[in-house]
Symmetry: C2
Subunit: 354 residues, 2 copies
């Protein structure tokens, strides 16, 4: 069996980690980096078999800063690369700019306050959530190829519309990062005057500010591409902190306890990695052979908080329709069926027997 082949454009922390993980799974990986020395280190570290780009790759991954993704993706598609994905932290602007059946936006929710090829590791994505943002433009084969490779990396795949992705990561990633940096900066400002300050910084403060140690270089692009969503969440954060301030000034004990109790319950219930499903059901969704069905079905599942454990795309020989075969937890099959029927799909499901 011929090994699958990937091209990596950008061999930093994320790109390098993808290279290490794919090669561990038997892929042949070639790649390049804006900084040629980085690509050489990627070869030395075993993240690349060789330096270069191969249009015959089964999968091409753009792992550059967000601002460079659209240009690189178009260049690679024009050069004949068939399936191209990226790992940028903002999706709507990039997906709109590329707009090609062979492109699928992606975003692994994993990282580190470290960066660069030196910090790359093959298990960076184990248990991480990896968002894909299919649209009506995305070819089914593109989705299937990218999804299958990501599962190989150990990540859990979820599909979201690009705009929804951007709004949600502003909330759980971009603004928290800016808030961590702001807390660290405020303490640092005071520390110039009160040198003992930082000696009082205990585990909680250290946890909260850890991500502020990351390299700032990626942030102007992220903030540039996701400005509106970030500003909206910052507005909500500022408003919420003003409410907290009022509770403090008013000595409103019950109000304070309510706020903290809600936060505590939410933090304790923060979903961990997906467990193994108790029992799987196979769901067959008849889809018309029109663009966007795959994106609609997969993002509908995510919006309903239902995980798709596997997906197979079967095209009908008659050519005007196809069937998506989804593996979902049996408990959730009814919910997903209902959501899809409401959107006009014909759906059946049955338990998978061992």
């Amino acid at each position: 069996m011929t090994p699958r082949k990937a091209t990596l454009v950008g061999t930093g922390l994320i790109g390098g980690s993808i290279g290490l993980a794919l090669r561990r799974s038997g892929w042949v990986v070639v790649g390049t980096d804006h900084d040629a020395a980085n690509a050489e280190v990627a070869v030395e570290r075993g993240a690349l078999d060789a330096i270069g780009e191969d249009p015959a790759s089964d999968l091409t991954i753009v792992a550059t800063p967000v601002g460079a993704v659209a240009g690189e993706a178009r260049r690679l598609l024009d050069a004949g690369h068939r399936v191209v994905t990226d790992v940028g932290s903002v999706k709507a602007s990039v997906v709109a700019a590329v707009d090609h059946p062979g492109f699928l936006g992606g975003h692994p929710m994993a990282g580190s306050e470290q960066d660069g090829i030196a910090a790359a590791t093959a298990d960076l994505f184990e248990g991480a959530t990896w968002v894909l943002t299919p649209t009506a433009a995305t070819a089914d084969d593109t989705f299937a190829t990218v999804r299958s490779a990501i599962v190989t990396l150990g990540a859990d795949v979820v599909a979201l519309a690009p705009e929804r992705h951007d709004a949600l990561v502003a909330e759980v990633s971009h603004v928290p990062h800016l808030a961590a940096a702001t807390l660290m900066r405020l303490a640092d400002d005071r520390a110039e005057e009160h040198r003992a300050l930082l000696r009082l910084a205990a585990g909680g403060f250290r946890d909260m500010t850890r991500i502020a140690a990351g390299h700032p270089g990626i942030w102007p692009d992220i903030v540039g591409e996701n400005r509106d969503a970030i500003a909206a969440v910052l507005d909500r954060l500022i408003e919420a902190l003003s409410e907290v301030r009022q509770v403090v000034v008013d000595q409103d004990r019950d109000g304070l306890l309510d706020l903290l109790e809600q936060a505590r319950a939410a933090r304790i219930n923060l979903p961990a990695r997906l467990g193994q499903p108790d029992e799987l059901s196979e769901m067959r969704v008849v889809v018309p052979d029109r663009p966007g069905s795959l994106a609609e079905v997969t993002t509908t599942a995510t919006e309903a908080d239902i995980n798709i454990f596997d997906i197979e795309i079967a095209h009908s020989s008659e050519g005007d329709r196809g069937v998506l075969i989804l593996l979902v937890e049996t408990d959730q099959a009814g919910g997903l069926q209902q959501a899809l029927v409401e959107r006009g799909y014909r759906v059946s499901h049955q338990r998978v027997l061992d």
Copy 2:
């Protein structure tokens, strides 16, 4: 040699951990808890030798919620306990309310999002910073006894004026905690509508919100006692986030990079646990036998960011003066000498030869 004896009032996470650590070092520890069942568990877990309070204790530690500390400390001093300290997160109001030569405020900068005797562990304080807040009212022997016990627990002791402590912990503990809870709560509000949201919460968000999982019960007291400092820091945080928002909206790349670069440098340089000193010097400080000298000398060292590795209090036979013998890193001896001379002390120092 008779073992030293301690009384613990309050056997939750902090009190229980102190009991475990002192007993490991050979102390006999008795104690009580507002909830008698907790004290029984503390005995079972080995944090107490027996339930009770012993006025003949060398050291009595009040480990109750902040709001109860002053009342308990006065009660214990009235009952004949000679040296009483506490572990509350706010100091100025408590220290002012007790105002007794036998009382010394304390605050270990250690904890956990868990709470209760079940989470207690003998090494909770290893490497933690433990603030003591001596004042003119604090007897030298009180300071020496408390300090020596805390060193036994593995903590690094720093002395700060109570008001300064409160301002600084508002910055590195209280407001960060409220901010973590607020971020978690905002995400939770959105998660009701967008159920996929929390699946996107990766390591950075988890780190930032970890402390929000702690039990809210201690916070009304803390916020009540340290209201003004907390409100002031919240004002600064809100203002700083508004500046960040402006940088985002203006797409001010350089401004953003400056903010993040300052935070990054500060986070990377966050002081870790004190290392072993390269070379120690013994510093002799002649102090008049008047109240407050010990507090002034020790807090002056902290304000100058100079660690005192050991301290011995020698009273002169003449009765009108004494000598403090401090062990400090040789590199820092000159700086501390200068700071103390400026405050009118006579100081000499010499290297400690191996």
